[in-house]
Symmetry: D2
Subunit: 280 residues, 4 copies
Amino acid sequence: MPVTLAENSYGKQAIRLVTVRRHAGRHELKDVTVAIRFEGDFAAAYTDGDNQGVLPTDTMKNTVYALAAEHPFDNVEDFGLALTDHFLSHSPRAASVRVELTDHLWEPIPVGNAPHPHAFRQAGSERRIAEVTRDRQSARVRAGIEDLVVMKTAKSAFEGFPRDRYTTLKETADRILATAVRATWRYSRPYVAFGPLWHEVRRVLLETFANHDSRSVQHTLYAMGEAVLETLDVEEVHLVMPNRHHLPVDLTPFGMENRNEIFVAAAEPYGLIEGTVRRG
Amino acid sequence: MPVTLAENSYGKQAIRLVTVRRHAGRHELKDVTVAIRFEGDFAAAYTDGDNQGVLPTDTMKNTVYALAAEHPFDNVEDFGLALTDHFLSHSPRAASVRVELTDHLWEPIPVGNAPHPHAFRQAGSERRIAEVTRDRQSARVRAGIEDLVVMKTAKSAFEGFPRDRYTTLKETADRILATAVRATWRYSRPYVAFGPLWHEVRRVLLETFANHDSRSVQHTLYAMGEAVLETLDVEEVHLVMPNRHHLPVDLTPFGMENRNEIFVAAAEPYGLIEGTVRRG
Amino acid sequence: MPVTLAENSYGKQAIRLVTVRRHAGRHELKDVTVAIRFEGDFAAAYTDGDNQGVLPTDTMKNTVYALAAEHPFDNVEDFGLALTDHFLSHSPRAASVRVELTDHLWEPIPVGNAPHPHAFRQAGSERRIAEVTRDRQSARVRAGIEDLVVMKTAKSAFEGFPRDRYTTLKETADRILATAVRATWRYSRPYVAFGPLWHEVRRVLLETFANHDSRSVQHTLYAMGEAVLETLDVEEVHLVMPNRHHLPVDLTPFGMENRNEIFVAAAEPYGLIEGTVRRG
Amino acid sequence: MPVTLAENSYGKQAIRLVTVRRHAGRHELKDVTVAIRFEGDFAAAYTDGDNQGVLPTDTMKNTVYALAAEHPFDNVEDFGLALTDHFLSHSPRAASVRVELTDHLWEPIPVGNAPHPHAFRQAGSERRIAEVTRDRQSARVRAGIEDLVVMKTAKSAFEGFPRDRYTTLKETADRILATAVRATWRYSRPYVAFGPLWHEVRRVLLETFANHDSRSVQHTLYAMGEAVLETLDVEEVHLVMPNRHHLPVDLTPFGMENRNEIFVAAAEPYGLIEGTVRRG
């Protein structure tokens, strides 16, 4: 039986772009990692070594820098739309182009009571992300956030679960819940005010996490997605929330009692909870 | 419009299992990382905080250790089949269970001219992997390998590609090709001799990489998949091959010539090439 | 010639401790990684396998949890002092004990305009650190900070350096300066208000970095250390500042000009600048 | 009181060099990471921003590539000697130069029964390392190995240790001993056959680890160092051996017995044992 090429794609990963726009009295800093993937009519490159249609991934990299120079952007979503538009227009063999953008967030260093005009610190581990996928018909944008590391030390329980022969976990009405949220979402309209809305989604995710009376990671994940959909112009949210376990230390061998105060933060293993919350 | 839960899953990641089987004159060592994911009728946990059907991920972890004790295994594929069978049988709410296994490869330390009976060294960065997915109808097994780091210093070219305004890459008939292969494949029959066949696939991948007259990463990727399908009982191979660029250093500023001998190994950015080769 | 044991040490690394103190209306969260090292009269363990004096590293770990329960602490420096005091008192063979503490910084999630009482987010990549070393005479404390990631987009130059046959770097009066500061310091007195002073040192480091008219990383490093010593009760500061290069992209092949706006953030290689600034 | 600069150093890290020497019928591949550090009369750069004596770290990087082209090397020790000689000769302000080299080990892919002439695989996680430090008087060379990951499943005990109030560890006559050895050593003479001797040291370390009847990590560490000194022209060995704990799983809650066969490989915390073994 013959052998054929099925799905395939190629592109460039980890393109590191930093731009500085020098306004009077204030510099604007963007620090973005870009990944690009082409799909389309590239079978001849695989089967015959024919590179006629294969735009070099080195050119993809160059294009990121050139377009950043020609089209300064406020939001990574806008830059992703510009990049996918360029690539599809200039690459006849490409049927679709996907661009993933990671926005490393910096904030001005406060000096005195004011933000410094051209000195910055990295604000945290969290990063703003965007995914733009464009084919010959349309473009789709997902916005998101990753490594939003949060913990709550009250209003988190895990009870009423089934037990089998291998279950040793104790029920608990008061445990630590810690996670690194990865959330991506689709707005209700293709073009929105990407910047302000992103901050609104982030705020709702954080506030819901903080206030929720949690019966499980699943329960809080759903509440976070639901709150976003109920208050903002968002159509669908996908959430990934690892359960970073914090285990109470047994102090009884030392003649002491642990009043739910002393924990081991366990790196491995960890739970992994995923879910998509959507309208309709 | 109401809000609903769409796709969802949960499970345990990074379960670290080491087993020692103590044969006379020789110990057998297994070192495996296991990840487990359940999908099924778990919506009530998300929407209502109802944990009645939610087998704890802590129980999943315990089950890995208990089953490893009861069912010593030679191949991670076999262990994945046993685990998914157990979980589906004992978890009525689960519609499907997926287990991913990473086999950290150890080999006996050679002492004198013989393998030592109970001392081992980690053989390399490469790892054997397997993915077993089981639903109420059937089980599917994928075998694989990851982080198989290889380089060739001859018979690698990249020429004849299209050029646009942003293309600066030079054509080259003689470049370094370096990659970390990730390959997963599906055998032609559900149950095969998982151990010997895995070694055969690995050998064919390596030999084809070494011998191929490469016109691009895509070209070599396809040749590797094709060779596996043409010689072994494999139905389909998926290959992911990052292009770890090695850039010739320009020595002319120092009054020297680089005769294709001196390179920078560049960490970022890197190309990423994927493809699936299949019968029919 | 005989063979002997020279310097030696042993201990436990990566002990992960999380404590929650449950005040009315507010939880206090500490998240600390502890490393412990003993030096002393342990040669018999090495040379003869005699474990009589070898307090197990597992016991060191247990002690961290037990002491955290008995002696709630406000500052990692205080906890390091308590731990070293305990270990030296209870381990006759130990001549000195060194404890390194990494304080993973969390801050309350703001909800409405107020900090939430029991929900937290990880504030940034930076971490507060402390090193306490105690022998039979005295204890020494170093405070510090690591992974304080900062960047300035103005007032940074590198000019007037020597050139040799292999020098291709261009002089620049206006470059990006980016680094991840690691600073450790010794206070002028053994016991100070560790918490408030740490925040003061951090503020002076950040403000000096921001305001400095930099001629090199060395120049800014010294200015940062000098400012700390001139304004605070600190005796000596050691600073490590990698130079995370941001290289202007050459856009001329695309018929464009780079007005010092478009940069590659290069991961490798990087400069590494170290220095100790001290009184006297 | 005035403020002064004490110890200081600067240099370049993570210089990535790959060289290919194209012999007839066989390519020779070197893949080395180089780090360079200068110490000397550089205070004016720190205190005054005077760069007159500061050879750019970018030039250090260029020099690595240029010297690799001019002086092909068989051993990283030789390359470190050439680099430090060059830097001291050309940098009047430098009092000493230290070069650290990491040799990423590749081996030919076997095809048929022969090593392929120009295709390679990364042999393992272990790396050969060297440190060369040169001042105006002399050069010192340390050779070494790192990330040599080994495990033994027999002949490892830990008994007879002291117990205090916080000790819960059980004595064991038969445990798993796993570690990632980092060893560096100084040869008895300045110039030796660096390549063959390195392989001999590695062999002795591995064989001693395998054969040793271990009462502790300390005990095995010393035996390994002692064996190197007793059989080879080595003056001193420094060994760092983390204790990667493998904990027997308690299967009794499941009505099962663990006959020392089922273990958790624990990532955190871990023991850390260090020691220097020397002649005389």
